[in-house]
């Protein structure tokens, strides 16, 4: 009891420190209002200039300087249609201007009209343009080929090392009240730190069905492997594939970005050097955006899990059964570069051994912010994500692991009840658009009425992330 109080207090102290740091951090970011004001002034000046040049073109449509300047200013304002109309006029004056074709292609590219952009680039190439034009067109065409392809693959790899103060997620005390009396857990089952190397990857492939709503077939793959220095029996291998059609409904009243995705799930998990379990199932995902920018996601999944025992895990098949998951997520942009997310999860695990069955309710929140690298130490941006989650797990039957009668003479088990805090910070240092260095620090505090299951673990994870 006292130990639990100490843990809880420590958790709140750490949470408070993180909260204060977070507020200071946000304050520092907000202390840059002059940049936005300057930007507004510059835009107003550009708009005035655009209007001025437009009048000049009306007076003399053949004024090439005014036309080029108008296209330039319009592009800087993001008024790509105005820039297009000006440059297309140049082609009526002289159809053999590969550089104008290049600019028109780039403008249509910016507008997301890749087929028209490609037509202009092809026309420019047909006119044997200078090498610099040819090179730039090649850059754009490479992008367009990806955009126009029906096949798209995006994802990332993350690998590195992780330190955990309680790598074996074991209780701090070696003593438990088991059915056979007070049992001294073997040392390998008592809290111990360890490091591991890990590799993880996540990829999504989508096949454009070329419908107007951009319906697609989506296949996702997630993989993870790690290897502990000491607890190699906890080496985890994990692979999961999902597949299903994403059906978009862009014209639903009152919402935007609505999509519906039924999918099937297949995964395989190894623990130690043996199969741990495999899963098949199905899920439904629904996404929409309401109130302009509040992104909502609802996910429901059902999975059938088949565990395999191993010489060192004779109880694993007791976890056989099915999982039902319901997850509701909301993401709200706070600024152009920051967002707040909140999530509710419900998990029902129905297992063969009734004392493994449980209902788990979880809430979590995260604040994600992207900002320029402080003091220009590195190019590009940094991203910070502060996260905090809390879950409650109610188990369905008395757990025979532990005697909770309070008397050594009567064995009376109890239903397990876990409460789990998790909080931390993920820091990404964006080195290039495709390469980032990721640092994550987190604390896990699992409190249980059965001391066997309680633990507190701090972890630090560091590694490069490659996005593609």
């Amino acid at each position: 009891m006292a130990a639990s109080l100490v843990k809880t207090r420590a958790a709140f102290v750490i949470a408070k420190i993180l909260a204060i740091a977070f507020v200071l951090f946000l304050g520092a970011l907000d202390a840059r209002p002059s940049a936005a004001a300057t930007e507004a002034q510059e835009r107003a000046a550009l708009e005035a200039r655009q209007a001025q040049l437009f009048q000049a073109m009306l007076r003399n449509p053949g004024d090439l300087d005014a036309t080029f300047a108008y296209a330039d200013v319009s592009a800087r304002l993001g008024d790509y249609e105005a820039a297009v109309s000006a440059l297309e006029r140049m082609l009526l004056f002289n159809p053999n201007l590969p550089r104008v074709d290049l600019e028109l292609g780039a403008l249509y590219f910016r507008m997301g009209s890749f087929a028209v952009a490609e037509s202009y680039f092809d026309k420019a190439l047909a006119q044997n343009p200078p090498p610099d034009v040819r090179a730039r067109i090649a850059e754009y065409l490479a992008q367009i080929r990806g955009a126009l392809s029906r096949h798209h693959v995006t994802g990332y790899f993350l690998f590195g090392t992780q330190y955990q103060s309680d790598a074996n997620v074991a209780p701090g005390s070696a003593t438990i009240q088991s059915p056979i009396g007070t049992l001294l857990l073997a040392p390998q089952f008592v809290k111990a730190p360890d490091n591991n190397f890990f590799m993880s990857g996540s990829v999504i492939y989508d096949y454009d069905l070329e419908t107007q709503n951009r319906d697609a077939i989506e296949v996702t793959g997630v993989g993870f492997m790690n290897h502990y220095f000491i607890f190699d029996r906890l080496d985890l291998d994990y692979g999961e594939v999902t597949a299903g059609p994403r059906l978009n409904f862009p014209h639903l009243p009152g919402v935007s970005g609505a999509s519906f995705k039924p999918y099937v799930i297949l995964n395989e998990v190894g623990l130690g050097e043996n199969q741990y379990f495999w899963t098949y199932g199905a899920g439904l995902e629904y996404d929409e955006i309401v109130w302009h920018d509040l992104a909502l996601r609802a996910v429901a999944e059902a999975r059938q899990k088949h565990f395999a025992n191993a010489p060192d895990r004779p109880l694993s098949t007791g976890l056989n059964g099915h999982d039902t998951v319901v997850s509701l997520t909301a993401v709200k942009p706070i600024t152009a570069n920051s967002a707040l997310s909140a999530q509710f999860d419900f998990l029902n695990q129905d297992t063969v051994l009734p004392f493994y069955s449980n209902n788990t309710y979880g809430v979590s929140g995260a604040y994600h912010i992207r900002y320029p690298t402080p003091r220009a130490i590195l190019p590009n941006f940094w991203e910070s994500t502060f996260f905090l989650s809390r879950s409650w797990s109610y188990y369905a039957a008395p757990d025979p692991c532990c005697n909770t009668s309070g008397s050594p003479f009567f064995f009376s088990p109890s239903n397990r009840f876990d409460r789990h805090w998790r909080f931390g910070l993920t820091q990404s240092l964006i080195i290039t658009p495709r390469l980032a260095l990721v640092l994550q620090v987190q604390r896990d505090i699992l409190s249980s009425n059965l001391s066997l299951y309680g633990y507190t673990s701090d972890s630090v994870l560091l590694g490069p992330q490659i996005r593609f």
């Binding site: 009526l92 002289n94 073997a186 997630v222 906890l234 976890l319 003479f409």
Partner: protein, 887 residues
């Protein structure tokens, strides 16, 4: 018609303003001067582009010339032009086209207005300006359809069908950029394009537009070529731009030259790509239930056991005063490095040493040459013939009230624990604890440990054929070995009787680093009939020695020591007295018949006895009911349910129903039961299913049951009476305490030693009918055994049973002989039989009671059941139990 709309996100106010303005312009004729008001400029004109004002003939278009209301633009085969409107919209018109600007209204202050044009034939491009960007109506009407666009760019081509003589041919519309474009056929059918690069085709006037589909690159390219000038034409410009002009203009710096900005802009103008699933590296262990000790692993040794050490390991314990009351102090001291050389065992214990002679078998030795932490010792020792296990009880010469205990040996080889393909059975002798100095294992002298003539069973171990000897500490339901030992002593008759029963059920478990035996002890002691019963409860295990060894032997299991701290509690609610025990066990020959029969079966029968409500004012009452016992010979399991009630005084005792749950057949219950064979089994409270009193869960239960064959005793039988040597019936004992809620309080009901009976083959209905048809009268001889409460004194009693039963009339005689000195005959009334079971009440004048029984075996070869009766006059007298008899 083609229409371009502004953003749908524009507010209602601007739409209202636009509508109001349209109303003014459409309903009211424009002023004469307004008809010539400039709405735009010809910004590029290639030859053969002409224009005509209303009521005027065609004139050749000139660069910079104003464009006005209702102006018609006509191009021939080489003609091209671009019109730039004052709202920054632009229309490009290709060759062989005919376009009429129907309407243009624009308020530069509010950026509201309307643009409508008609394309009779030809190629057309619209690039949106302020009107379409701000949600205003931009429409283009063609012979085949009307097009409306909301912000953006589109291309259109209206073909002429010469056969019909007018231009009402196919209309192709390609949506290039914007929020959406609607094509409405003359028949009112509409299609909306929202994806750039998609096309809708209207085959002709009066026909429906097609569904949107991806536009071919060929069509898009041809339309652009038709609109973007042609060789030799200069658009009317006086200064012809060159590529150098473009390069020198610097326009590329902010457009094509900034590829990153282009990519970002394209990303913002296209739906975001789907995101790959997030892999939460920091939470995978939780996600996959790796966060349990069970989930991770079992506490068993992963590496091959170490080779047998050259030296001996074991444990040492000593008393610290009060040897017979508290036993050896726990925990004991593990050691390794002992040596047995030339019959002398030597080992260092802490700062001292133990040196004693050891010889095969049981030996006594004197103090010569001995040493211990308490000085020289005398003692007795046991050494297995192969030298693999020994123990010795030591009495220090200088402190004769103290005791020391040492044991040890060689570890059992790993191969012993592997399945052999055949069931294995083992028996061990439990020697008295040298400190407690009781005859009966696990007991103190104060609680029956010295009762005379005890029946002390061997400690049996039954190992499955195809599973490991040692099982996981958390029961999975898989078979592994079971262990059972029990002792029973009943001294005297009547109120002066003292009795004790104690049983151990356990399992060899795969503890780390070596397997060990773990189990529980339950028992009850009654010093006399007028005493309160003392409950005994404990966990017991084989301690791990200095090398982590619990079992000693080598290729076989020669011996071990069971140790623990037991608790005694009077009447279920008194103070707990704790003491320690160290019981050495050495292998002995397996008694005949053990393991001969292992059957998965269900036995049905009856139970009876007397319980005492120990909370509040003690009150004894009878309980009777039915028993159901199921054995699983494959998994070596037993589960039993006894269900009954107080047959006489339910209102006063408050026990209207009773359900006792023992053992269990599925996972999580194996650690409280032991099935050796069909004759030897026992079980404690089912840990998964609570026993109940009056339907309330008795979560504090410490009940037990076992077969009488484990502790066969004839101590109770009067002369001339013997227990039935039945083939189909088993009987045994049960007892223990139940703690259950009763209103706001807790009630405790305890049984000292009661009895049950159950049979495997209830006589079939056919056999009963045969007996009835044959007019058979069965004569049964056997015994009753039960519990008596005689004017407050509780004891066990037995007597003879002679019964007759005429199956045809269902009548007979139930004659009790010398049960606690009472003999009487009860007539069995007619109409008592249901199937193979019978039930009747009786009143002999002195006693009244009930009998519930059944016939078992072919042709009702045996009968068994429960009985309960009470005195009708004189001192209170209550008896309840079971009987067995055979023909």
């Amino acid at each position: 018609m083609i229409a371009i709309d502004g953003s749908s996100l524009e507010g209602a106010l601007s739409r209202w303003a636009a509508a109001a303005l349209f109303a003014v312009l459409v309903l009211a004729p424009p002023p004469a001067g307004a008809a010539q008001e400039r709405i735009g400029v010809d910004t590029a004109v290639n030859p053969n582009a002409s224009a005509a004002l209303p009521g005027s003939g065609l004139r050749r278009m000139v660069l910079g010339e104003d464009v006005v209301y209702n102006e018609r633009i006509v191009t021939t085969e080489k003609g091209q032009t671009q019109v730039l409107f004052v709202d920054q919209s632009a229309m490009s018109v290709g060759p062989n086209s005919n376009l009429l600007i129907d309407r243009f209204v624009y308020d530069p202050n509010t950026k509201t207005g309307q643009l409508a044009a008609s394309l009779t034939r030809g190629v057309f491009r619209f690039v949106g300006g302020e009107l379409s960007k701000h949600g205003n109506q931009v429409t283009l009407k063609t012979p085949a359809a009307t097009i409306g666009i909301r912000g953006g760019v589109f291309l259109a081509r209206q073909d002429c069908t010469s056969e019909r003589g007018k231009c009402d041919g196919k209309l192709s519309v390609v949506f290039v950029y914007g929020i959406g474009l609607t094509v409405t056929g003359d028949n009112g059918v509409s299609q909306t394009i929202t994806r750039p690069g998609f096309e809708v085709v209207v085959p002709g006037s009066g026909l429906s537009p097609s569904s949107p589909f991806p536009a071919s690159l060929g069509l898009t390219g041809r339309l652009l070529v038709a609109l973007d000038g042609h060789p030799g034409a200069h658009g009317g410009a006086q200064t012809i731009p060159t590529d150098n002009d473009v390069a020198n203009s610097g326009v590329s710096g902010n457009i094509s030259g900034n590829v990153a900005a282009s990519i970002n802009a394209a990303a913002s103008n296209t739906p975001p790509p789907p995101k790959p699933p997030n892999t939460d590296v920091g939470n995978l262990q939780n996600q996959f239930n790796v966060n349990t000790v069970q989930g991770q692993s079992q506490t068993q040794n992963q590496s091959p056991p170490p080779p047998p050490p050259e030296t001996v390991s074991g444990g040492f314990a000593r008393t610290h005063g009060n040897a017979t009351t508290a036993g050896y102090r726990q925990p004991q001291t593990p050691y390794s490095g002992g040596t047995l050389t030339d019959g002398v065992f030597t080992v260092a214990i802490g700062s001292g040493m133990v040196q004693i002679p050891l010889a095969a078998g049981f030996q006594s030795f004197g103090p010569a040459g001995t040493e211990s932490p308490l000085g020289r010792v005398t003692g007795t020792s046991f050494l297995a013939l192969d030298g693999s296990f020994f123990y010795a009880d030591l009495t220090p010469v200088g402190q004769p009230s103290e005791r020391e205990f040492i044991y040890g040996g060689q570890p059992v080889n790993a191969g012993f624990y592997a399945p052999t393909g055949a069931p294995r059975f083992f028996a061990f002798n439990l020697a008295p604890d040298g400190a407690l100095q009781s005859v009966i294992p696990f007991l103190r002298q104060q609680t029956g440990g010295l009762l005379a003539d005890p029946v002390v069973s061997p400690l049996f171990i039954s190992a499955p054929a195809n599973a490991s000897f040692a099982g996981p500490i958390f029961d999975t339901g898989a078979p592994f070995a079971r262990s059972l030992q029990a002792s029973l002593a009943i001294n005297g008759q009547g109120a002066g009787q003292s009795s004790v029963i104690v049983l151990f059920v356990g399992n060899p478990l795969a503890t780390s680093p070596q397997p060990s035996l773990q189990g529980q002890i339950a028992g009850s002691f009654l010093a006399s009939g007028t005493s309160l019963p003392v409950g005994i409860s404990s966990f017991a295990s084989t301690p791990q020695d200095g090398n982590g060894v619990s079992f000693y032997g080598g290729s076989a299991l020669s011996g071990f020591v069971l140790a623990g701290t037991a608790g005694e509690q009077t009447a279920g609610s008194g103070p707990i007295t704790s003491y320690n025990f160290e019981e050495p066990a050495n292998a002995v020959s397996l008694p005949a018949g053990v393991g001969a029969s292992q059957t998965s079966q269900t036995l049905s029968g009856f139970f009876g006895g007397i319980m005492t409500r120990e909370s509040g004012s003690p009150l004894s009452y009878a309980v009777t009911g039915t028993s159901s016992i199921t054995t699983d010979a494959t998994n070596l399991r037993v589960g039993a349910t006894f269900a009954g009630a107080d047959p006489f005084t339910g209102e006063s005792s408050g026990v209207r129903s009773l359900a006792l749950q023992f053992g269990g057949l599925t996972g999580g219950t194996a650690l409280g039961q032991a099935y050796i064979d069909d004759n030897l089994f026992a079980a404690l409270q089912n840990p998964s299913v609570a026993s109940q009193v009056n339907g309330n869960d008795a979560n504090g239960s410490s009940i037990w049951m076992l077969t009488s064959d484990v502790v066969p005793s004839a101590a109770l039988l009067p002369n001339g009476v013997s227990f039935c040597q039945c083939q189909f019936l088993k009987w045994g004992y049960w007892g223990g305490a139940l703690s259950s809620p009763e209103g706001e309080t807790t009630r405790i009901d305890a049984a000292h030693i009661n009895t049950w009976v159950a049979g495997s083959q209830p006589t079939s209905v056919g056999d009963i009918a045969t007996l009835q048809g044959s007019n058979v009268t069965g004569t049964y001889t056997g015994a009753l055994v039960g519990t008596v409460n005689n004017n407050g004194a509780q004891y066990l009693a037995a007597g003879g049973l002679n019964a007759t039963y005429h199956f045809a009339t269902q009548t007979g005689n139930f004659q009790v002989v010398n049960f606690d000195g009472h003999s009487f005959a009860a007539a069995i009334p007619a109409g008592n039989l249901s199937g193979s079971s019978y039930s009747f009440g009786f009143n002999t004048g002195a006693f009244a009671g009930n009998v519930n029984g059944g016939f078992f075996g072919p042709l009702a070869a045996e009968t068994g059941g429960n009985f309960a009766f009470h005195a009708l006059a004189g001192s209170p007298y209550l008896a309840a139990g079971i009987y067995t008899a055979k023909r």
